[in-house]
Structures are given as structure tokens and as C-alpha cells.
């Protein structure tokens, strides 16, 4: 077996495994069985990654804060999620007496179900997408929008002021940043010409002089990526946008009244949302499963995909360890007064890019426009106190 065929088989190993397993069944059941196997794989892999991420996050945050993370359970503390899982499973499930029983029960379920659905369109490797939908991007964001309902259900059914406040803030934040998320995605869709994720990757999977055509390496792509990253952090209620669940602000926001396994489900839902939105970000801007250099194509595509997703998760953790929490009005001001105008401008620049045609002119022009806009809008916002550090007024 030559090296290239070995690596290409390694690349397709999961597809081959599934085909082999499904081959044991009669031909009529094969497609359905294939889908079931793929779904099972997703349901096993991503919660496993979630467990690993909780340890990495705690240890990473610890190292950033000059301390060790958990290091008692298992080698270097890597069995900590097992301990956490046992803890959340054995804790008493407390439901407040005045809480709305059915809605309280359904909220974490709705969250986890909608977040898992988002994974159905992510291409995790060559030929490794669960459903190649024509409108994949739209489906993904539809599922993201449906998670807001579960946040509201959780906050309202707990009959708790803090939960309700947290839920309303969370929903306001999610709606505001969802617009940004969608607009930055529209730039990519405009250039790629399709809403289907495998086609977007195919558009980026080309190489010039060994360098890839990833959209992040274009001026409009970089701007859109940064706005997408900010919006993704806000969508998943992650620091510094985690006011709705900040412990020092709102006890635990909309999941205050949840204990035991339901809380673990909320936690799982949040981290899975992080994975899925990072997966979408890598697919849209970082080329999905394609390698950064043409020479590195022998490394399996799923390794690249998961590597890029874990890099994004590391950046999430890094931001959490660095930035203080944003207040609600600062968050909203930032969204509507800086991020959204910049994203709209980015959309215009993308259109300009498309219509200028190939050549060095479009690079220079688009970069200049975006850089100038960033600097000017940033300074204007800082000066007018729409965004930026708070000003203090002391009583005289």
C-alpha cells in the first residue's frame, strides 16, 4: 500500500467504517442505518469532547491565573469530568414548588435537542457531513435561534426574579448578536455562491502558491471573522458576554433553579453550542477540513477540522481568562453601535470585492476601507462613550 493511498484511507476511515458496518444489513435498511450510526457517532464524540474541554478549560484558566487547575483526580486531573459527572448525576433534583413543572422539565431538553441538531450540517471531514442540505447555513442558524426559546422557558418557569432577569437579558443579547452572526455569514455566502456547507469548503479548498484560499485571509473575510467571533462569544453566553449567567451578578441567571442532571444538561448545551458555532466558524472562514498548506494534505481532514475547532475553543478559554465581564448596556451598545455597522460595511466591501474582479487592486482598496472604518468607528465610539472603558463621576 503506497503512502498516499494509506493516508487517503485514513482520511476516509470513518466513512469506510460506517460502510463496512452497514454492509451487514439488507440493502433496504442501509441508508437509515448509516444515518443512525453517524448520529450515534456525533452523540458520543461531542459530549466526550465536552468532558475533555471542561478539564482543559479549568486547567488552562488556572495556568493563566498563575495556579494549577484540578490535578487530583486521575493523571494530571484528567478524570475530573468523571467526578463532575457523578456529582451531577447523584445530586438531588430540586424543582421549586411554584415552578411550572412541565416547562421547567422541557427547557433543558429543548436546548440540548436544538443544539445537537446544529451538528447535522457540519462537515467534519471529507465526505463526512451528516446531511448535505441545500440550505445548510440557514438550517444551522434556525437551530441556533430555537435555543432562545429554551432559555426563555428556563428563566420563566423557575418563578424566580433572578432567573427571569437573566433569561430576558440572555435573549436580548442573543437576538442582538444573532443579526451580526447572520450578516457576517452572508458575506461568505455571497462569495461562495451557495448556502450548502460542503460547497463553501470546496470554494476554499484551493491553493495558490501553496497558500489556501481561506476566507479569513481576505480583508473582508478577516473583518467578518472577527465580527463572527465576537457574535459567537455573545451567542453562547461566554465571557466576556456572560452576564446572564454570571455568578456574581445573577446567581446563575436562567439556570439558577436547576440542580443535578438538568444543570449538567444546560452546561452540556452551552459547551455543545460553543463547539457547533466554532465548527461553523471554521467551515465558513477557516476552510473547514482543508489543510493550511497544500503540502500538508496527507494529514486526515477530520484531524484538521477538530484541530481548528479546538483552537477556537482555546481562544474562547483564553478570552475568558483575560477579559472582565461586560455590563448589559455595554454589551448592547457594543452590538448595535459598533459591531453591526461594521458588519454592514463589511458586507458592502465584500460586494465591492466581488465586483472589482481579480487583481491586486481589490486587495488594497478593501483593506484600506476596512482598516480606516475600524479605526474611525472605533475612535468615534470611544470618544462618544458609546463603547469603551467606563467613565467615573465622583460626588463632589
Amino acid at each position: 500500500m503506497s503512502a498516499t493511498s494509506f493516508f487517503s484511507r485514513l482520511d476516509q476511515i470513518f466513512v469506510l467504517l460506517r460502510n463496512w458496518l452497514v454492509g451487514f444489513l439488507p440493502p433496504t435498511m442501509r441508508p437509515a442505518a448509516g444515518v443512525v450510526l453517524a448520529v450515534m457517532a456525533i452523540v458520543c464524540v461531542f459530549p466526550g469532547l465536552f468532558a475533555l474541554t471542561t478539564v482543559f478549560e479549568r486547567k488552562g484558566l488556572g495556568r493563566m491565573q498563575n495556579r494549577l487547575g484540578p490535578n487530583r483526580v486521575g493523571p494530571f486531573g484528567f478524570f475530573q469530568p468523571v467526578a463532575d459527572g457523578i456529582k451531577s448525576l447523584t445530586k438531588e433534583d430540586i424543582v421549586p414548588i411554584s415552578a411550572d413543572g412541565l416547562v421547567h422539565f422541557l427547557a433543558p431538553l429543548v436546548l440540548v435537542v436544538t443544539v445537537f441538531m446544529g451538528f447535522a450540517v457540519l462537515p467534519m471531514g471529507r465526505n463526512m457531513v451528516l446531511v448535505d442540505m441545500d440550505a445548510g447555513v440557514l438550517f444551522f442558524f434556525a437551530m441556533g435561534a430555537a435555543t432562545e426559546i429554551s432559555v426563555f422557558m428556563a428563566g420563566w418557569s423557575s418563578r424566580n426574579k433572578y432567573s427571569l432577569l437573566g433569561a430576558m437579558r440572555a435573549i436580548a443579547q442573543m437576538i442582538s448578536y444573532e443579526v451580526v452572526l447572520l450578516l457576517s455569514t452572508v458575506s461568505v455566502v455571497m462569495i461562495a455562491g451557495s448556502l450548502s456547507l460542503p460547497k463553501i469548503i470546496d470554494a476554499q479548498n484551493q491553493y495558490s502558491w501553496g497558500l489556501p484560499h481561506w476566507y479569513i485571509f481576505t480583508p473582508w473575510g478577516l473583518g467578518a471573522f472577527i465580527m463572527y467571533a465576537i457574535a459567537a462569544t455573545a451567542e453562547t453566553n461566554r465571557s466576556p458576554f456572560d452576564l446572564p449567567e454570571g455568578e456574581s451578578e445573577l446567581v446563575a441567571g436562567y439556570h439558577t433553579e436547576y440542580s443535578g442532571f438538568k444543570f449538567a444538561l444546560f452546561f452540556l448545551g452551552e459547551y455543545l453550542a460553543m463547539f457547533s458555532i466554532s465548527g461553523m466558524g471554521t467551515t465558513l472562514f477557516l476552510g473547514g477540513w482543508s489543510a493550511p498548506l497544500a503540502a500538508l494534505n496527507w494529514i486526515p481532514s477530520w484531524i484538521w477540522f477538530f484541530g481548528k475547532v479546538m483552537m477556537s475553543i482555546f481562544v474562547f478559554i483564553w478570552m475568558r481568562g483575560t477579559l472582565p465581564r461586560l455590563r448589559q448596556d455595554q454589551l448592547m451598545n457594543f452590538a448595535w453601535k459598533f459591531v453591526l455597522p461594521f458588519t454592514l460595511l463589511n458586507l458592502l466591501v465584500t460586494a465591492l470585492w466581488r465586483f472589482l474582479g481579480e487583481g491586486w487592486q481589490r486587495w488594497v482598496l478593501c483593506t484600506l476601507i476596512l482598516a480606516a472604518a475600524y479605526v474611525l468607528m472605533g475612535r468615534a465610539g470611544l470618544y462618544r462613550k458609546h463603547i469603551g472603558p467606563r467613565s467615573y463621576r465622583y460626588a463632589e
Binding site: 488552562g60 495556568r63 493563566m64 491565573q65 498563575n66 495556579r67 494549577l68 490535578n71 483564553w318 478570552m319 481568562g321 483575560t322 477579559l323 459598533f338 475600524y374 479605526v375 474611525l376 468607528m377 472605533g378 475612535r379 468615534a380 465610539g381 470611544l382 470618544y383 462618544r384 462613550k385 463603547i387 469603551g388 472603558p389
Partner: protein
Amino acid sequence: MRRELRTWNLTEGPLLGEGIIRGLAETAKNFAGSFVSAERLTTVEYPEQRIPTAENARVFPFLVYDGSNWEAGMRCVACQICEKECPPKCIYIEKSKDKKPDYVGKAQFYPTRFDIDISVCMSCQICVEVCPFEAIKMDTQFELATDDRFGGLLLDRRELAKSNEYYHSIHPTEASEVDARLADEKAKVEARAKAAADAAAAKPAVPAATAHVPEKPAEGGD
């Protein structure tokens, strides 16, 4: 309030996101440095690693005894000054009825009961400061957790008595000073006794019946 923008406001001033980038650089330095340098990872993994305590650390008091017999060599003479001076009143002393000789040979009372409740003691060291006999000093042991909630933290004189060598090992400079002072005292007392003995020997043929027999220190009590 709306502030009017001038062109110079737009051309100078901080860039949006500058502070964030600097913060990210700092945490990245922390993250990377924590694997290589101790300055960036200040955790001490207690109880596998311990930082040695400083010399003048103090936790709870203990009673010093000289020699090898803790009962006979205990310096405490049950003067009860520490019991009276202790702010939370955690010391309980019962005086003996008889006397035993101290380090200079003088007969002193001794405590038949000396209890310190270390759940009450606040480590103020006042008992150490007021003791005229250098009998009570501060220990440095802090791993005293016990599961006996009724008497586990009430130390009696047997548990409190620790040797002078132990005192030297935990507070070497202090112990040397104390020993030097006690040796001086002893030397002075012996010199006075010797002078008195010489003076008594110098007086010829004084009838022994009327003379005060000076209390000769017996060379014992050590």
C-alpha cells in the same frame, strides 16, 4: 451627552481593542510561563510540598522542660501570671501543695494541672511575654486537626511539655538567648551563694546554734 467629534479626535487616541490585545498577551505569557518558571506558577501543592515556616512563626504555646524528665525539669512554677493575662482566658492552672527545686536549686511550686484550650487560644503570645521564668513559649505546629470535638483541642501539661532541645530546633536564636540568660542568672546566684559561703567561712568560730543556716542549693533538680 453628545460630544462633537473633531478630526483630531479621530486621528489620535487609543485604538479599539488595544487593551484587549495587551491583556491577551499578558495571559498568554502567564500560560506559557507557568510551565517553565516558578514565578508564573505560584502554587505550592500542599501537603506534598510544604514551605518551611519562618523562625518567628507562632501558633500555640507549649511548656519548656530542661533535661530528660518532663515533670521534674519543667520550668513552670505555677505563678499563674499567664493565666491572669491571657485575653480569652484559655489557660487553666492548678498549683501544687509541695515544692520542687528549679534550675538554680530554689524550691518552687509546680503546676499539677496546666490546660490550654487551643480552640480558644488566639496566639497573641501575651503569656510568653509575661512569663518571668521562660517557661512557656510559642510552638510552630499547625497541623492539629482532630476529630475528637470534646477534648481533642484541650491540651494538658503532658501534651504541652516539650524539651528544651525541641525549643532549640524550632526557634534557635530565641532559645540560645533564653539559655544564655538563664545561665547568667544561675551564675549570678551561684556567685552570690559562693560569696556568702566564703563570708560565712571567713567568720571564725561563730556558734552554729544561733547562726542562720543559709539555704544551700542542692545540686539537683536537673
